[in-house]
């Protein structure tokens, strides 16, 4: 993922990694030999060059070359690797496609990266009962493609869906533009096969609904590779709507756009997607996608509804009637597939388009939607205070913000400023009743901010539960929980 235009080799970054375990580094050859006994030769990657391909994820400011990389093909191979690493006291960083924006998949020098990208098969599709069983390294989009011929799809649709894996989605509880109606990963996941660090294979859930005991599936979803390695998953697939069409509306203030969103939801309409862009974002996206976005507005809403042609007409009529009460400066209902595609192209390529003009950090806080005008104003003040630009693109229906803090990696000190601005923005989200991350996860990026959202008691309780799954803290241990004050049994 190219999120920064150029890489500054000497970029000083502020998030610390734990010091590597010298004893493990010293045993590197023996560890590699041990792994080689468990897997086919091509599944163990040891050369410096090839390992470098795994040194970061989409949080490219941070890099760590791992001890080794393994690419197993079966649950049994995963179990063998984990059992070995457990016995040897070697850290393991599970990896899908490496598109994490929070640094969730960034390795450690003394850790083995366990990539599951080879495990990418569809195992079973049951259209009547509407489920699909897949290996966890399959990409998000490939699941939808595998069921599309019968008119089905897998609902959560992160913008990275072409590349990201279902394992990564489960680990980050990923969302997408259409989760306002369909929910995020946790709402669409029915079962997983997960391997614990000691090699135990655990089956959680299945093709049925609800857990017989504790909701372990709910706990595993969003656990960022810290509880176990997911090797298979059963997901719900849904029948596609007959059609979908967006409307585009521009307002001369953020407040008015926010009020319009509240009025639509207050009227009992839940669109399938409700996306927001501010002026800087509109400008860049329009230049890239030529979607016909109005350029003279402060806020743009993309509102999509689904159904038959008549249902779409009816729903859009209701939405337009509400929007008109807020005197939109621009209001256009898509009339054709081509027009709809153009409108979405602008939104879906937003991150890429932005990446062509600047380096950026993509933040991911969630706020109560009523706080929108206040928060956007403060975000702008925060970034201006650091001398940085910012563009806002986000899921307005659920308050999940994606401020892109713009900086230039080649200007000394700018990345550090961007990180500081990002931290201030996330603290602001928590202050107004929201949270640090809505869908990208904590990773290393927000690890040191966790105390702003949680009390020590809250964190310790989470860590105690984490410890049940991985008592030695060998699974992705540099992430999520602040490095100091860890509770290890």
């Amino acid at each position: 993922m190219v999120l920064s235009r150029a890489r500054r080799e000497d970029a000083v970054t502020t998030i610390a990694f734990p010091a590597p375990d010298a004893a493990v580094l010293g045993r590197r050859e023996a560890i590699i030999a041990g792994l080689a006994r468990l897997l086919p030769a091509e599944a163990v990657i040891t050369s410096e060059d090839e390992r470098r391909a795994f040194e970061t994820d989409a949080l490219t400011a941070y890099r760590q070359v791992p001890l080794a990389v393994v690419l197993p093909s079966t649950t049994e191979e995963v179990a063998a690797v984990l059992r070995f690493c457990h016995a040897e006291g070697v850290k393991v960083v599970p990896r899908g496609a490496g598109t994490s924006l929070a640094g969730g998949a960034i390795p450690q020098e003394d850790a083995v990266v366990l990539g599951i990208a080879k495990m990418n098969r569809v195992l079973d599709i049951d259209f009547v009962n509407r489920t699909a069983r897949v290996q966890a390294g399959i990409t998000n989009l490939a699941i939808s493609q595998a069921v599309a011929h019968e008119g089905f799809f897998y609902a959560p649709d992160p913008s990275s869906q072409l590349a990201c894996t279902i394992a990564g989605n489960i680990a980050m509880n990923s969302g997408g533009a259409h989760c306002l109606k369909y929910g995020v990963t946790t709402n669409n996941l029915l079962g997983v096969t997960m391997v614990l660090l000691d090699g135990t294979v655990v089956e959680i859930g299945g093709a049925h609904l609800d857990a017989p005991g504790y909701d372990m599936l709910g706990l595993v979803c969003g656990s960022e590779g810290q509880l176990g390695v997911i090797t298979e998953a059963t997901v719900r697939i849904l029948r596609q709507a007959e059609g979908a069409r967006p409307a585009l509306m521009g307002f001369d203030s953020v407040e008015t756009a926010g009020a319009c969103v509240a009025a639509i939801i207050g009227a009992g309409i839940i669109p399938v997607a409700l996306e927001f862009m501010d002026r800087p974002a509109i400008k860049v996206c329009e230049a890239f996608a030529h979607a016909g976005y109005p350029l003279d507005v402060e806020a743009l809403l993309i509102i999509e509804v689904e159904g038959s042609e008549a249902e779409i007409e009816d729903a859009l009529k209701r939405i337009v009637a509400i929007a008109e009460r807020f005197s939109p400066k621009a209001l256009r209902v898509s009339r054709s597939e081509a027009e709809s595609a153009a409108i979405w192209k602008g939104r879906k390529s937003a991150f890429g388009a932005m990446g062509r003009i600047a380096d950026y950090l993509c933040m991911d806080g969630t706020i109560p939607t009523g706080q929108l005008p206040h928060v956007l104003k403060r975000i702008s003040e925060i970034c201006t205070g650091y001398g940085l630009g910012v563009a806002n693109i986000f899921h307005a229906g659920d308050g999940n913000l994606h401020p892109l803090v713009l900086y230039d990696i080649n200007k000394p000190g700018e990345l550090e400023k961007a990180e500081a601005a990002g931290a201030d923005i996330l603290k602001l989200c928590v202050e107004v009743g929201g949270c640090l991350t809505g869908e990208h996860g904590v990773g290393i990026e927000k690890r040191d901010l966790m105390r702003h959202q949680y009390s020590e008691v809250d964190l310790v309780q989470q860590m105690r539960i984490r410890g049940v799954f991985d008592p030695a803290w060998l699974l992705n241990p540099a992430k999520v929980f602040p490095l100091d004050g860890r509770v290890v049994q």
Binding site: T186, V202, I265, G268, E311, D314, G441, V457, F469
Partner: protein, 406 residues
């Protein structure tokens, strides 16, 4: 008939006035290793294994809605708040809890008012679960007192949140064994403008469930899909589907569904709105199996099309009566309360398809003698025991309610 929850529960009822007091009480009980039962509305109903508690912690005084933002689709309330109050408050703004919580009183012959805490702790969802998700899907935040007497929060009031481990899900359906919930935040949904119910009569179970799944696999957004065999509230078998939304959309979908389901027979629309609502309430509350109260009731969750096959394998149990919700994936089964109430047979029948069976209603001696909750595979059981210890190290909350040792 009122089933005593447990013959061994002591009469001591602790009724903390606020969260801090609750935490202090729990801390004291933990220090003295005094096991606690938790009671919300005091429905006195009996699900699970009888608990050997020395005292009961009541949430009666922990009441009140703490947040309601209709435009943000969110409501939060203290754990003892009656569910009825939540539903009334939401209805005033044309909203509802998405998962259609049941009123269990008819089935369990119990009294009292269900509470927010009891609702969350049991993670029960009605017919709309197939479209709108379960209770756990609507839960976005909790505050609870753990077994150390500490107040823990997880999640919050926003719709999307992946900050740290999701303890909200863990609290959902924990039956009080992981601590005392003090406050729960739910995502809510607008009530539909219109509701339509289609009925096809005379199908056998397998055909009925097939029809339901044909509809569920269509783009026409079904919010209820149940099959009621002959003798349950009607002389002939009824296969029923619910469609909700704005009027033009509902009319359109009803037309399309009738067409789609033509191979199964004519799908008639229930004209009387009151009658249709009552029907879905009966499905939700399992009213068809309320009587005779002395019979045991099972709740089975499996793959939808496996529902009728599992039932066929156990239909020989004495006086078996049953119906299907969730397109066939949820089976409510009532049998005579004797022996193991069919536990072995039911679980064997489920095994090839996957799923679980919970003994929902039975006399206490029977519940004490067998596993009312589906036994877990060894690795999952080990993790469950670990989680219980991580949250409640002294094992004081509802010990044994779900599983021995948990």
């Amino acid at each position: 008939m009122t089933l005593p929850r447990s013959a061994t529960i002591s009469d001591t009822v602790l009724t903390p006035e606020n969260e801090q007091e609750a935490a202090a009480l729990v801390a004291a009980c933990a220090a003295a290793a005094r096991p606690l039962a938790i009671r919300g509305g005091g429905t006195k109903a009996a699900v699970g294994r009888p608990v050997n508690a020395e005292a009961t912690l009541s949430t009666k005084a922990l009441t009140g809605i703490t947040l309601y933002e209709p435009a943000e689709l969110v409501i939060a309330a203290r754990a003892g708040t009656p569910l009825a109050e939540i539903e009334r408050t939401l209805a005033e703004r044309g909203q509802m809890l998405p998962f259609e919580p049941a009123d269990a009183r008819a089935l369990l012959g119990s009294e009292g008012e269900a509470t927010v805490g009891g609702l969350a702790a049991t993670n029960l969802s009605g017919p709309r679960r197939i479209m709108a998700g379960a209770c756990r899907d609507a839960m976005i935040g909790v505050r609870f007192v753990n077994g150390r007497g500490e107040v823990v929060k997880s999640g919050g009031r926003v719709m999307k949140n992946v900050t740290g481990l999701d303890l909200v899900k863990l609290a959902a359906g924990s039956w009080g064994t992981l601590g005392l919930l003090t406050e729960v935040t739910f995502k809510v949904q607008p009530k539909a403008e219109r509701l339509a119910t289609l009925v096809i009569e005379g199908l056998d179970d397998a055909r009925g469930v097939e029809a339901l799944n044909a509809a569920l696999g269509s783009p026409f957004e079904i919010t209820g899909a149940a099959h009621l065999p002959a003798g349950l509230g009607g002389e002939r078998a009824r296969t029923v589907l619910r469609i909700e939304g704005f009027s033009p959309s509902v009319d359109y979908r009803v037309g399309e569904l009738r067409h789609l389901l033509a191979p199964y027979g004519p799908a008639e629309r229930i004209v009387d709105a009151g009658e249709a609502r009552r029907l879905w309430q009966d499905v939700r509350d399992v009213r068809f199996l309320a009587e005779p109260q002395a019979h045991a009731v099972w709740r089975l969750s499996t793959v939808p099309t496996a529902g009728p096959r599992v039932v066929a394998a156990v239909a020989g149990l004495a006086e078996a009566r049953f119906f299907y919700d969730w397109g066939g994936g949820l089976v409510w089964l009532s049998v005579r309360a004797e022996g193991d109430c069919g536990a072995t047979m039911i679980r064997e029948a489920l095994a090839p398809h996957g799923g679980h069976a919970t003994l929902w209603r039975a006399p206490a001696d029977i519940r004490a003698a067998l596993q009312p909750f589906q036994p877990l595979a060894a690795p999952l059981m080990r993790l469950s025991e670990g989680v219980k210890r991580a949250v409640d190290p002294a094992g004081i909350f509802e010990p044994g309610r779900m599983y021995a040792g948990i």
